[in-house]
Subunit: 118 residues, 2 copies
DNA sequence: CCAATTGTTCAATAACTTTTGAACTAAGGA
DNA sequence: TCCTTAGTTCAAAAGTTATTGAACAATTGG
């Protein structure tokens, strides 16, 4: 059971920008970036909205090609598609993350350290 | 009569990204960038939409802090706020322009039309 | 098997965005 | 003054996106 993701060459600039133009999704991306590639599951973003709402925003990010979601048991392990985005739009993700990094207007994720079964 | 613009420190990352997440506005920004700072008036974008519609999109860009519009007679001379955006979000505008520069899916101004093989 | 956990899907609604035409203002020239 | 040019504003229609709760699946552990 794998989820649909666009190929690198199918990632569209206006769609990526539109998807990142939402404070909740930008906060998700910032938090993923702060975790340096460690995969996170949905529940770790619950500070940013309801479970249903996060499912919606995470699907938008995945369908735009910004994140990758891998099914592991009952979890979806989510990572940023850093290399793919950098190949497609060099420097874009880095500058967005840097700009989001010190933006106090964005919602923040509190630290949840939950162990994911293997 | 001057038009309202946000100060550099009032420019918001999600608003800028949201505004750029529209093919017409991205095409406007790309065309402004290709003109290397030479101010353009509204009518020069008529390939991208009706006069009314361009007025709407250009207002969005101006209110987000992406462009500056200066009133000169009956014209609004429009420029990219390159320095302001670079001060606020280093590298962001450059990477967006570079990515938009070779995107055949974006609408084009002037004779930059896309060739579709038969 | 049963129950808990994780997350999705659906339908409804609320909120926002885009596009349009008609009417308008303001400046400049004949 | 009258006409043209440049662009705005308004209101309506159409389209899109965000948010919610209830119901649903899939997996895992007891």
């Amino acid at each position: 059971m794998t989820l649909p993701h666009p190929n690198t060459d199918q990632i569209s600039l206006p769609i990526v920008l539109g998807v990142l133009g939402d404070p909740t999704r930008l906060a998700i991306v910032r938090y993923l970036a702060s975790k340096q590639g460690v995969p996170l599951n949905c529940s770790q973003f619950l500070d940013l909205g309801s479970k249903t709402n996060l499912s919606y925003h995470l699907a938008k990010l995945r369908e735009a090609g910004v994140t990758r979601a891998e099914v592991v048991g009952t979890n979806r392990m989510i990572t940023l598609r850093r290399a793919d985005l950098d190949a497609r739009f060099p420097g874009l993700l880095d500058s967005v993350i840097a700009a989001a990094g010190d933006d106090p207007a964005l919602p923040a994720v509190g630290g949840h350290d939950i162990e994911i079964p293997a």
